[in-house]
């Protein structure tokens, strides 16, 4: 237990370092001090250094937890998502090493922070490893796939920078609308985290019992105030709230969480847009993104894909097939997770061919990078939590 307690502390320390690093990157980019004498280069250097220290702390977390649980800690959603956040940091450290660009840090580090915070919403309880997962391929397949995804995520950060830089905020355009949608989606993730913490603190959930399609009695344990319940559900404990009854084939527990996350996201968004910033969120970020030359932003997102995709294919498809053959006796079974890994690959393959063969650079390429990251997150969150399959551990 010692190891695990310490590992959690190390993760928290890593989180703090990442957060401070993000702040320093912000100072480095925007020069927040009014006298205008900010030494940007130095701030960027310190920010990078802090990111490295944060990474070292997280690595310590990883190996401590490994020592504590007795297997590579990438076996459930908490462990995997944390690791994915760490791999995003690795991706950032590598790409920053090449380009030394502070703006990238300003956008990549918050995304990594968000991912790690999101991870901590899942149960961090030490769970025994089921026989199917008990294999050396767990570490080989999962770590390589996560590394690939982490590097690919940098192309999202950099694609976003390109789009923020390039999109005119003065006139209505598709890019402007979708950028705002992207911002709102990120707010919803933040909303989920904050709403979960809030309701955990005040404990305003409840338990309902109902008869499912197969005639069995099932119960849902709500951690958030109940908005939706299955048909004919009976409240066992907690407050009933709105309690709208929906058909049984809809999982109202998950819908409840989703709706609360959107509500949380909407509150944050409205506050930012109409109270704090008084303009579009994208518009507020634009001056920061303008500090990078478009060519560089475009190039970074291309390089991240060029480096990350082979790693992802190796880990997420080839190693995955080898392990699936050993554990499930078929290398490919059209499990949703497998299919979405294939879709991830095909999306980036599409990106590369469009770029190299058909000259899609700039805006359209940047949108493909944003979409690619959306698919990666979809595969991580949605496929695990909503679409049932062989990979839905946790």
């Amino acid at each position: 237990m010692e190891w695990i307690d310490w590992s959690s502390r190390m993760l928290f320390i890593a989180f703090i370092f990442y957060a401070v690093s993000t702040v320093l990157f912000t100072i480095a980019v925007s020069g927040m001090r009014k006298d205008g004498n900010v030494n940007r280069v130095a701030y960027g250097k310190y920010a990078y250094l802090l990111a490295i220290i944060g990474f070292a702390s997280q690595l310590t977390y990883f190996f401590m937890r490994w020592a504590g649980v007795g297997y590579a800690p990438v076996s459930n959603l908490y462990e995997y998502t944390t690791f994915f956040g760490m791999m995003m940091v690795v991706g950032f450290l590598v790409v920053y090493g090449i380009y030394k660009n502070d703006v990238l840090g300003l956008f990549a580090m918050p995304v990594a922070l968000l991912v790690i915070a999101f991870a901590s919403m899942f149960s961090s309880e030490v769970a025994p490893l089921i026989p199917a997962l008990n294999s050396v391929w767990l570490k080989i397949h999962v770590t390589t796939a996560a590394l690939g995804q982490g590097i690919l995520a940098i192309s999202f950060a950099s694609g976003l920078i390109f789009l923020l830089n390039e999109t005119s905020m003065k006139e209505q355009s598709k890019s402007r609308t979708w950028l705002e949608v992207t911002m709102f989606t990120l707010m919803c993730v933040l909303g989920f985290i904050l709403v979960s913490m809030l309701f955990k603190g005040i404990g305003s959930g409840g338990v309902v019992e109902f008869t499912n399609d197969r005639g069995q009695t099932e119960s849902y344990e709500y951690l958030m105030p109940i908005l939706f319940v299955p048909e004919g559900a009976q409240l066992l404990s907690g407050a009933s709230g709105l309690s709208l009854e929906l058909p049984n084939w809809i999982n109202t527990l998950k819908l409840n969480t989703l709706v609360w996350s959107i509500i949380g996201g909407a509150v944050i968004y409205v506050l930012l847009r109409f109270v704090i910033l008084r303009k579009r969120v994208a518009e507020a970020l634009q001056p920061l993104a303008k500090k990078v030359d478009l060519d560089l932003a475009d190039e970074i997102s291309y390089r991240s894909v060029a480096i990350g995709l082979p790693v992802f294919i190796l880990g997420g498809l080839i190693f995955a097939m080898i392990w699936a053959q050993i554990a499930w006796n078929r290398f490919w079974g059209w499990d949703p997770k497998e299919v979405w890994a294939l879709i991830t690959m095909l999306t980036y393959v599409y990106y590369l061919h469009m770029r190299i063969q058909r000259g899609w650079t700039g805006t359209r390429a940047a949108w493909l990078c944003v979409g690619g990251f959306g698919i990666i997150m979809f595969n991580l969150v949605f496929v695990n939590l909503v679409i049932a399959g062989l990979h839905s551990y946790a």
Binding site: E125, A127, P128, A132, D295, N329
Partner: protein
């Protein structure tokens, strides 16, 4: 700018098509078509994950009912469109086949001219050619400076060739073959995957083997036999196992968690037939198969796939207690699969009148739920040496007998057996898949990590020197690598002809051709 995709060489399919063959060919050779196919495959694949595919749904219900019951109207629509078997549907396979054809045709169409163009490339290029590159510089310079650049480029591991004052430096040309190598790998992989559709290329059977039983393996055409020596189901045990203690909280919440499924087995080969028709077996080897560690022999693999959650009873033993004298008779054993009906125990005769392997009471009568010995019950008649007969119905936690019976039937022991579900497989397409996958990965790494870079220098009009550069991947990297060398030698610095222009209040979309 010049179209440098195939080094300015003539792409076969771009010539004006003459016959219908050429037209079909150029259709499949088109990148646009290939990308459309990829897009359609992405969409199709995604649809298949909305609801589970037929192979993943529980078997108790027919699929037609399952989708409707579980997912309502959307489920019914999903089922009626055939999306429950999407990945083997004719249209999905057709998309894959067309993509394969597109890969083959596009690769042939481009590889040949590209190969020829790169094999015979002149060192001295025309001014028009050089000015058509993305990276181009022009300015005063001398031949001495070009010589200096030559040695600087050589230090950067460029292969340099000279033609008088003209210079060609080249690096990583083999990276140019990466896409073709990975396409080849993919095609080989697809061939392997498609061969698997035919039963001749793989065998795959699930064998349910009870402990102690020996079965003929259908997948081997009866050549091999397998005996289940023991099935092992190990659970995490936080109370008794120190290593597992840390999982106590999780197990308390989620219930018992299995640690290991394993079948210890012995392999036999059929060497002949005995006179009574039974096979003559010779032991080959023994071993075990567990999850993640299949047992292999010959070209076959045995996977621990399933087990029956309730072990079956093989035999049960009983004793008879004479409650008058205090004597005990027996024990005697009833073989559940092939029971004897009478047992003579020193004068006391026991007759097995009926045997219910999976006992239940139905309509007030003893009955059986299934033919499997999961919960056996026995109907015995016990006859004393004096010829008096008493009846007993005995089962697990069940003993129906007359209060004042003289003889009492008691359990003396059980023999149970678990059943393993073993998947026996062989697949002759594995080598093809492995070769295809490896070639594919090599091609990707070649193509993505080794960008082809070239630098041309020549004298132009007067004292002018032209410097131009080409790369198939990332022009900025080439610029960063070679610009310092140009600067050092004093040759004209090249510029990127296709830079994005950042205009704060301009909403035009930035696109540029990457030639």
């Amino acid at each position: 700018m010049l179209d440098m995709k195939y080094d300015g060489a003539d792409i076969r399919s771009k010539r004006r098509p003459k016959s219908w063959i050429d037209r079909v060919w150029s259709f499949f050779a088109s990148v646009k078509v290939g990308l459309w196919l990829i897009g359609l495959i992405i969409v199709g694949s995604a649809i298949g994950t909305i609801f589970p595919q037929e192979m993943y749904i529980p078997q108790q219900l027919p699929p037609s009912q399952y989708y409707a019951q579980e997912y309502g109207t959307p489920g019914t629509i999903y089922y009626s469109l055939g999306f429950h078997n999407l990945y083997t549907s004719w249209w999905y396979i057709t998309l894959i086949v067309m993509l394969t054809l597109s890969l083959i045709v596009a690769s042939i169409d481009r590889l040949v001219p590209l190969y020829k163009a790169l094999k015979h490339q002149p060192v001295r290029r025309t001014e028009r050619f050089m000015k058509g590159q993305r990276l181009i510089g022009q300015g005063p310079g001398t031949e001495a400076q070009i010589d200096e650049l030559e040695s600087a480029l050589k230090k950067k591991r460029y292969r340099v060739t000279r033609d008088g004052d003209a210079l060609l430096a080249e690096k990583h040309r083999f990276g140019r073959w990466g896409p073709y190598v990975n396409h080849l790998g993919l095609v080989i992989f697809f061939i392997g995957a498609m061969l698997r559709v035919f039963p001749a290329f793989h065998t795959d059977t699930l064998e349910w083997v009870r402990e102690g039983d020996t079965v003929s393996l259908e997948a081997t055409d009866g050549e091999y036999y397998l005996r289940n020596d023991q099935f092992i189901l190990e659970m995490y045990d936080p109370e008794n196992n120190e290593e597992d203690a840390k999982f106590a909280a999780a197990i308390e919440k989620a219930g018992a968690v299995p640690k290991n499924y394993e079948t210890e087995l012995t392999l036999f080969k059929k060497v002949g037939t005995n006179e009574d028709g039974s096979p003559q077996l010779e032991q080959v080897t023994s071993g075990s198969t567990k999850v993640n560690h299949p047992f292999t022999f010959d070209k076959y693999e045995v996977y621990q796939e399933q087990y029956s959650s309730r072990p079956e009873f093989l035999a049960m033993s009983f004793t008879i207690a004479d409650q008058e004298s205090g004597d005990t008779y027996g024990p005697f054993t009833v073989d559940l699969e092939n029971p004897e009906t009478t047992y003579d125990l020193d004068g006391v005769e026991v007759t097995l009148k009926d045997l219910y392997p999976d006992f239940q009471v139905k309509d007030g009568q003893p009955d059986t739920k299934s033919p499997r010995a999961l919960n056996p019950a026995f109907f015995f008649n016990v006859t004393s040496p004096e010829g008096e007969t008493e009846s007993n119905l005995i089962g697990i936690r069940l003993n129906v007998a007359d209060e004042d019976n003289r003889y009492k039937v008691q359990f003396a022991g059980t023999e149970m057996a678990s059943t393993s579900g073993l998947r026996v497989k062989s697949d002759s397409t594995y080598p093809i898949l492995i070769i295809g996958g490896t070639i594919f990965m090599i091609g990707i790494i070649m193509g993505m990590y080794w960008p082809h870079r070239r630098v041309w220098v020549r004298k132009g009009e007067g004292t002018d020197v032209l410097v131009s550069g080409f790369t198939n991947k990332n022009p900025s990297s080439l610029r960063r690598e070679v610009s310092p060398l140009l600067e050092k030698t004093g040759l004209p610095i090249w510029e990127d002809q296709a830079k994005f222009e950042s205009k704060p209040d301009d909403d035009t979309q930035h696109e540029r051709g990457e030639s």
